[in-house]
Amino acid sequence: MARHNLGTVVSFEVTRTLKKKQFWLTTLLVPVVIGIVIALIVLSNTATDSKVDSQKDATLRFTYSDASGYIDPAIATAFGGTLATDPDQAIADVKSGQSAAYFSYPAQPTKEATTAYGADLGIFDNGKYSSVATQLMVASAQEKIGDPTLTGLARGSFQVDAVTYKDGAVSGGILGAIAPLLFLLIFYVVIVMLGNQMLTSTLEEKENRVTEMILTTLNPTTLIMGKIISLFIIGIVQMLVFILPVLFGYLFFRTSLSLPDVDFSQLIVNPGQMVVGALLLIGGFTLFMGTLVAAGAIMPTAKEASQVFGIVMALVFVPLYAVSLVVSDPHALIVQLFTFFPYSAPVTAMLRNGLGSLSPLESGIVIAELFILGGIVLRLAVQLFRYGSVEYTKRVSLRTVFARSRG
């Protein structure tokens, strides 16, 4: 049934939020910060790369000793090296400045450290000693192997694609977890960014003494639904604003940012997991928003209501303390508790759903629990708003509210 004036409420709430300078200042702050971080990383990485390249290319006059026998003298000469006959004298020459550097290769380079002695050129430029010493050993080893492919394989430069099976079908692995875990990300963003707005949004009617006039034109359920829908729309706007710089960074500066090259065509989307994830998101959102509305209706001021917001936030983040257990042992008692306790259930269940450890039975129970409890809390929130928000200066007890609603 179409709700009387629902569209008007949504339109008013969305428009007035989007018209506020403060909304855009706080919303744009996140992408601006992300942009600055990206720029700094790109600049820093570019500087590092060019420095490393220039160090690679620089001709360093050095002496060396080779207990391992792997260093090819011809390559060493090409690098600018001279074999040292007396290691102590070579070190003394470096100390006195007569020699730029001295590399001491041990008998077993894979087990013992190679030591590079050199004049101090500053923290960053000192890196060129280890860089040249490493390059000399790598080039010598390559020469001994005689095959670049073998060299690459020996260095582990090859890819392994894992194909795993679950219930007879190919399971997704990490590529299968990405899509359903997006619901968890959305849940966090929505609750963290919009939770406080929801709390203060219903408090606004109370603090502004506008409840009675509003309730003669629409019922409290419509008002609260309108506020929740408008906050959801605002949340989408915020997420788009946040995602844009990340997308931009990924598309144009992926290498500079050292981001993995994700082949999105390889992502595995399991429809069952996606449906469960979406239902957990909606159920969890309903439960938390209903709770915040109820708190806003009971408390006389935003200051007092903020204490409730702190508790709600703690409940959202508590499951993360057990995240290693959620991954490694989803049947542990604490994980089971977090899975079924209503206020930790959304996060824990969405995480387990993404990792594929939430059974269909558990999914059904948690989804039913969230929707039933979310509905009850929303109804309670409506009652509290109806009766609590006309008690303009008092904190209202549940007993008082129920006494009024029973009449």
Binding site: N5, T8, F12, N208, V210, E212, M213, T217, Y387
Partner: protein, 337 residues
């Protein structure tokens, strides 16, 4: 719907064409019957019944905490009544009927961080006007109340009196059939009070029914056709102002005098000052008998008038025992709050 009011705003002195109602005049617009309201173990309203006829201005009177605001909230569906019927237009009020109602609650306020015009337009839309009609009406109203240049300002940038004017505009913008005003002049300065009274008169002329809660007895005598007095959760007096004066107060004798007023079974002294007193006559006694008793007791009477008690007199007589601090000699035009 808003057009008739817009025209009345344009020409406030011009005669407004009354709304024609297809229903019979005998059918009350507001019908409250055997209303009871308990909050847990506390009974606020025991048994309340009264009707408000179409087109009349009705005064809903009572001392502080007597349950007036509770009754209005129950009538508007904000509270669920424990028992009884509370009907507007023959059925319980629902927000879908909000377009026919103008409600100015005792606790007032609007969205303070939004602009005046946005808030007015929003309420206009909630009451069923189109965005453009609500916007145009609001601008015209703001011009009338000298706030035309404040339309785009945030409400919290306006003075208290200016905010009251905006709230009043929001209350009447849908050309309401029923106007409920809970202590309408509370917090108004004399200028805004006159504006409010003018607007109520406009609404009355346009055929609106007005339910008014007030402690300003002179306003009641000036505006109200009928009244109800609420005491201890039930009706203490109900009818036209004259009926109530007749029903409750009987005759009041006002004298200017010197001497000592005697005790008498025929009257009680309800106000005594150094040379002025008001005596409430008990029973069907002729005023001449009272005059004779005073003169026989040696009182020199320089001026003697007999008439009905004012609503102030009645209010003090009815609620005086609930407010022991108020003595007869202290009473003024404002009773209660």
């Amino acid at each position: 719907m808003a057009s008739s009011l817009l025209s009345s705003l344009d020409k406030p002195d011009q005669q407004v064409v009354p709304r024609k109602d297809p229903r019979q005049d005998s059918e009350p617009l507001v019908h409250i019957s055997n209303f009871r309201m308990d909050f847990g173990r506390t009974t606020v309203i025991r048994d309340l019944s009264f009707d408000i006829n179409r087109g009349e201005t009705f005064g809903f009177l009572g001392s502080n905490g007597s349950g007036k605001t509770t009754t209005i909230r129950a009538l508007l569906g904000i509270y669920q009544p424990t028992a009884g019927l509370l009907h507007i237009n023959g059925k319980p009020f629902s927000p879908e009927d909000g377009g026919t109602l103008g409600y100015l609650p005792e606790e007032r306020g609007l969205y303070k961080k939004e602009s005046v015009i946005d808030v007015m337009t929003y309420f206009g839309r909630l009451k069923g006007l189109s965005r453009s009609a609500a916007h145009a009406w609001s601008l015209q109203y703001l011009e009338r109340v000298a706030l035309g240049d404040k339309a785009k300002l945030r409400l919290d940038k306006l003075s208290g009196g200016q905010q009251q004017k905006v709230q009043l505009g929001v209350t009447i913008m849908n050309d309401p059939e029923l106007l409920i005003l809970d202590e309408p002049t509370k917090g108004f300065d004399p200028v805004n009070r006159k504006l409010l009274m003018d607007i109520i008169e406009d609404q009355k002329r346009a055929g609106a029914t007005v339910l008014m809660v007030t402690h300003q007895m002179e306003e009641v005598e000036r505006l109200c056709d009928r009244i109800v007095l609420l005491k201890n959760g039930t009706v203490e007096a109900y009818g036209t102002v004259e009926d109530v004066q007749e029903q409750y107060g009987g005759t009041v004798v006002r004298i200017r005098y010197t001497g000592d007023i005697p005790e008498s079974p025929h009257f009680t002294v309800t106000l005594r000052e150094s040379s002025y007193a008001e005596l409430t006559v008990t029973g069907p006694i002729d005023e001449a008998v009272i005059l004779r008793e005073l003169m026989d007791a040696g009182v020199t009477v320089r001026e003697f008038t007999a008439g009905r008690p004012s609503l102030d007199d009645i209010f003090v007589a009815v609620y005086g025992d609930q407010n022991p601090g108020a003595t007869a000699g202290e009473r003024t035009g404002t009773a209660g709050e």
